[in-house]
């Protein structure tokens, strides 16, 4: 039998426990009790217990600073660290360096605390929400590479808007390390993916499965993203912190894909509508231009070129029907023919007629088409192609030359 001092024994026990690999990196699940935070040092002292026994635990200030929740008595937690001995008291204890809430109650508390804190900082404010681009060229997705969510998104995008490119940044979506993996994948995508919009999400699961989407670090990464972010976690009724901080929340990954990109069916319909509008405008425009041409030709002496204009009118009607076909070449041809028509009309225009020696008579600024309206002494202005002459009527003689025009002028 050996004899030792108390200190020697305690020191020895400490070495034994710290030397045991099994005790140097483990997670203990239990309920917090006797919790205190030492005001000066900032260290946390508490016990972890289950229904049969209890264990002393301490979490030093620098590790406690990483905690994303407020530990409380009664809270179920998962405490990670190593076992050691506090020599002064001769007590073994768990030195905790990481702690996560476990169990619905604890998770609900952490959720509420995180939500309140981030909301207080303004991360959920509507003013920070970015609008989604109407025609995204590159759609990024952060999700598990093997899961159905990715296939759903791919299928929906392929059907609706195959014009875009899908950029996948794969990450584990549940379990240990998943919050960090999601955050890294998101940052990588935002920095290097050159995306116009990013979807982050996963399919349905239990509260534990979805837990990493409540991670504060992930939420902050979403807030800091350059591209607008659509979150799509679980089902309709699941709300995670990511849903609050994202620019748009979708109830499922498929819905996210629908929100991210336009529907090509609808675009094609809109294009048809624009096409009809174009045709209608072109036809209207031609019609009103034809009417104007009509008016111009009607103002000259009637009968002389009615026939010619009527024939051209028929051709214009014909042209306007052809316009209903929207081929570009037809437009070109019609433009050419309109030019031809212009030249033709020009050749029979009153001015040309006047070139050949005829003049037009006006009395009091009104055209005089018949001698029956004239009386001796009337003052006339005769318009020639290059000017006019003011004259007085000496005498009026009525004579109808044979066969030149059909009806009697008014």
């Amino acid at each position: 039998m050996i004899t030792v001092t108390v200190s020697q024994l305690n020191r020895y026990l400490k070495a034994v426990l710290e030397g045991d690999k099994k005790l140097s990196n483990l997670y203990v699940c239990g309920e917090i009790s006797n919790f205190t935070r030492h005001r000066q040092s900032g260290h946390l002292y508490f016990s972890l217990k289950d229904k049969d026994s209890a264990l002393r635990a301490v979490m030093f200030r620098q590790d406690a600073g990483d905690l994303r929740f407020q530990p409380e008595n009664g809270m179920e937690v998962l405490a990670g660290g190593h076992v050691s001995v506090y020599e002064r008291d001769g007590a073994y204890q768990l030195i905790v360096n990481d702690m996560q809430p476990r169990g619905a109650g604890a998770m609900a508390v952490q959720f509420a605390q995180t939500k309140e804190r981030l909301e207080g900082e303004g991360l959920f404010a509507p003013a920070h929400k970015k609008p989604l681009p109407p025609y995204p060229r590159r759609v990024g997705v952060v999700t598990s590479a093997d899961a159905a969510a990715l296939q759903d998104i791919r299928r929906v995008l392929s059907r609706r808007y195959p014009l875009c490119a899908l950029v996948v940044s794969p990450a584990q979506v549940q379990g240990a390390g998943s919050a960090r993996a999601l955050t890294d994948a998101l940052n990588r995508l935002d920095r290097r993916g050159n995306c116009d919009v990013i979807i982050i999400g996963r399919g349905g699961g239990s509260a534990e499965d979805l837990w990493s989407f409540n991670d504060e670090g992930l939420a902050r990464a979403i807030f800091a993203c350059k591209a607008p972010v659509i979150s799509a976690v679980g089902h309709e009724t699941d709300y995670t912190i990511c849903d609050f901080v994202s620019d748009v929340r979708a109830s499922t990954p498929s819905v996210a894909a629908q929100l991210a990109a336009p529907d090509q069916e609808e675009l094609l319909r809109r294009l048809s509508g624009l096409q009809s509008a174009l045709r209608r405008h072109a036809a209207d425009k031609l019609y009103t231009s034809m009417q104007r041409l009509d008016r111009l030709s009607g103002g000259a002496a009637p009968g002389a070129y009615e026939n010619i204009v009527a024939k051209k009118q028929e051709k214009l009607d014909f042209f306007s029907h052809l316009i209903y076909n929207n081929k570009r070449i037809f437009i070109q041809e019609r433009q050419n023919r309109l030019a031809e028509l212009g030249a033709l009309l020009n050749s029979v225009s009153p001015l040309r007629v006047m070139d050949r020696g005829y003049c037009a008579a006006f009395r009091d600024k009104e055209a005089v088409r018949t001698v029956r309206r004239l009386a001796q002494g009337d003052e006339l202005r005769l318009r020639f192609c290059d000017g006019w002459a003011d004259c007085t009527v000496d005498a009026v003689t009525i004579a109808i030359p044979k066969g030149i025009h059909r009806g009697l002028p008014r």
């Binding site: 109407p134 025609y135 060229r137 590479a145 791919r154 995008l157 392929s158 195959p162 014009l163 875009c164 490119a165 899908l166 950029v167 996948v168 940044s169 794969p170 890294d184 994948a185 990588r188 995508l189 290097r192 993916g193 090509q264 675009l267 094609l268 294009l271 624009l274 096409q275 509008a277 174009l278 045709r279 405008h281 072109a282 425009k285 031609l286 231009s289 929207n326 081929k327 570009r328 437009i331 070109q332 019609r334 433009q335 309109l338």
Partner: protein
Amino acid sequence: MKEQKTFEQAMERLEAIVAALDGGELPLEQSLELFSEGAGLVSHCQSVLENAKLKVETLFPEERQEQPEDE
């Protein structure tokens, strides 16, 4: 992706053309020009949509970087 770059611009130009024709009193020459430009854009957009196929890329973590296929 030159096709893609112009799709959004093509749609916007189309809407602008129709709005201009709606508005009004444009001379015939200009209306016909706008009409043929618009008709061309409609055909282009329709064929771009009908011929498109979804492209998928994967962005791996730093150790396995995905290189573009143009080397």
